[in-house]
Amino acid sequence: MSSIIEVRDLSKTYASGTPALAGVTLDIREGEILALLGPNGAGKTTFISILCGLVTPTGGQVTVGGHDILRGYRAARRMIGLVPQEIALEYFETVMNTVRFSRGLFGEAPDDAYIERVLRSLALWDKRDAKLRELSGGMKRRVLIAKALSHGPRILFLDEPTAGVDVNLRREMWDVVRALKAEGVTIILTTHYLEEAEEMADRVGIIDRGRLLLLRDKTDLMHEFGQKILTVELAEPMTALPPALDGLGLTLAPDGLSASYRYDSNADRSGIARLLGSFAAEGVAVRDVATAQSSLEDVFLRLVRDLA
C-alpha cells in the first residue's frame, strides 16, 4: 500500500515552551484506519492540528498526497476533512447551512444531493433545518463529522469523535467510519476508548509525551503483546498450593478459590496440558476453567508503564 501522508521528524514547541511533539516520523497508508492512542497531553491533537493547518510546526516536514503542507497547503488541505476535539459551531445556523458553508470554504460547487447523503448517513437528515443550539451534544458531534465530510475528503481526521457519545451512537459512528473506509477514505482517529481502536483500527500508534512510542498493525500488536490468562476455579478453597503445583507459574487468589496462570497465546507450548494434568495428578478438584485474552487496554497500560 502506498502512503498518503508522510511525516518526517515533526516537532512542535508552543510559545509557552511546552514541547508537545518531539520528532515524530511516520507514514500513513492510503485507505487505512490509524488509531492514535496516548494519555492526556500526549500531543495527539497537536499532531492532527499541524497536519490540518491549525498549528505551525517548529520542525520537520509533512506531505499530504505528495503536497507539502506549508508550500502546497491548498492542494494538501483540499484532501483533508477534520473533526476537531472541541465542539465549536455557529449556534444560530441550521444544520444544512453550516454543512453548505463548510463545503463552500473548500471551493466545491454546491451539491445538496451529496450533503443529503452525508446527513442521512449520520442520522441527521431529520434535523437539517434545526438550529445547532437546539441539538444534543452527540448530534453536534455528528454535525462536525458532516461538516468535515462536506467536500468529500480523501483523508479524514477524527479527534476523539466518540467522546460524549452514547453506546448505540458510538456503534453507528463506527459503521459510518467503516463505510468511509470501504469507499477508500483514509482515517486517522484519536481515542481514549481502547475498545474503539481495537474494534476499528488497522494500525495503532501510541504517542506519549510528544513521541511516537510504537506503530504496529493491530493484529500483530495484539499477538505480540497478547497474553492469555487461564483461571482455574477450585471446588474446595486452598490456603496454599500443593508442592507439585508450585513452581508452575500459578498464582492462588487471596480467597483461595481460584488459581490463575498467564501464558503467551502464540507460544508453541503453552504449558496448559501439563498444568491441568498436574491438577488431576494431585487430586485437586476443579470446578471450572476459563481463559481470557488480554485487551489492547492491558497492552497499552503495560507499554506506557514499561517505556515511561
Binding site: 493547518g53 491549525l54 488541505r77 483533508i80 465549536a88 463552500g104 470554504l105
Partner: protein, 253 residues
C-alpha cells in the same frame, strides 16, 4: 484563488445583515438623526454657513465618515473575534484558502454593510437639508475605499484582541476621538492657527476632507493628500494582514 470560498464567507457575513435589515440600519440612522437635531438645529442656528455651505449640509459628509468608520471597525472586528472566541475560526484556518480570500470575504462584507448604511444616511439627510453632490462617482469610490480600509483595520483588531475589553479599546480610545477631532463637525479653517496645524496631523481629517470635497468641492487639505492618506492606510492594513497570516500571529499557535 478560491472564489467560492470568498463568496461563502461573504454571504455568511451578509446573511445576518439582510435577515434583520431593520436592526442593522436603524441604529446608525437614528444616531445620525440625533446628530442632525443636536448639531444641525442647535449649533446650526448660530453658525449660519461654512464657506457658503449651510452648516446642516456641511456636517453630513463628516457624519457619514464617522458612521462608516465605526461600523466598519465594529463589523469586521466582531466577525473575526467571535470566531476566535467561539472556536469556529478553525474552519477558516483549515480551509484551502489564503489570507486574500479570508480578507476579501470578511472585510468585503463588513465594508459593504458600511456602504449600505452610508447610502441610507445620505438619503435620510436629504429629508433635512439641501445636499449637493458634486462628484458622485468619486464620492462612492472614496466611500468604498474608506469602508474597506477601516474594515481591514477592524479585522486586524479582531485578530489582535484577546478579550472583549481589548475589542472595545481602540474604537473608544483612538478612533472616536480622532473622528471628532478630525473636522467632522467643523472646518479646520475655523480653528486658531496652532490647532489647525495640530489637526492636520490627524489622518481622519484627510478622509473627512476628501469626502466632503466630493460633495461641495471644498476641502481642508488638498484632495491629492486625502487620496494619498487613504492609499497609505489601505496599503498598511493589507501588509499587516498579510504578515499576520504569514506568521500565524494570534491565529495559528
Amino acid at each position: 484563488m478560491n472564489g467560492r470560498a470568498i463568496l461563502t464567507i461573504f454571504n455568511f457575513e451578509m446573511a445576518r445583515f439582510w435577515r434583520t435589515p431593520w436592526e442593522s440600519l436603524a441604529a446608525p440612522v437614528v444616531s445620525t438623526v440625533l446628530y442632525f437635531v443636536v448639531f444641525g438645529a442647535a449649533i446650526g442656528t448660530r453658525i449660519q454657513s461654512v464657506e457658503d455651505v449651510s452648516y446642516g449640509a456641511f456636517i453630513v459628509p463628516g457624519l457619514i465618515i464617522l458612521t462608516v468608520l465605526q461600523q466598519s471597525l465594529a463589523n469586521a472586528s466582531n466577525a473575526i473575534f467571535m470566531r476566535k472566541f467561539v472556536g469556529t475560526i478553525h474552519e477558516i484556518l483549515a480551509a484551502p484558502i489564503s489570507f486574500i480570500e479570508v480578507v476579501a470575504g470578511f472585510v468585503g462584507a463588513a465594508a459593504l454593510k458600511s456602504v449600505v448604511i452610508a447610502v441610507v444616511i445620505y438619503l435620510t439627510a436629504l429629508f433635512f437639508v439641501d445636499l449637493p453632490l458634486a462628484h458622485p462617482v468619486l464620492a462612492l469610490i472614496l466611500l468604498i475605499l474608506t469602508s474597506f480600509g477601516f474594515a481591514l483595520w477592524g479585522f486586524l483588531m479582531g485578530i489582535w484582541a484577546k478579550d472583549w475589553q481589548q475589542l472595545q479599546f481602540i474604537p473608544m480610545m483612538v478612533v472616536t476621538p480622532l473622528v471628532f477631532l478630525g473636522g467632522a463637525f467643523y472646518s479646520t479653517a475655523m480653528l486658531p492657527p496652532f490647532w489647525e496645524s495640530v489637526a492636520k496631523l490627524n489622518p481622519v481629517l484627510y478622509l473627512v476632507s476628501g469626502f466632503r470635497w466630493t460633495f461641495f468641492g471644498l476641502a481642508d487639505v488638498p484632495v491629492a493628500a486625502s487620496v494619498l492618506a487613504l492609499a497609505l492606510f489601505l496599503g498598511l492594513g493589507f501588509v499587516a494582514v498579510w504578515a499576520i497570516f504569514r506568521t500565524g500571529w494570534r491565529l495559528r499557535p
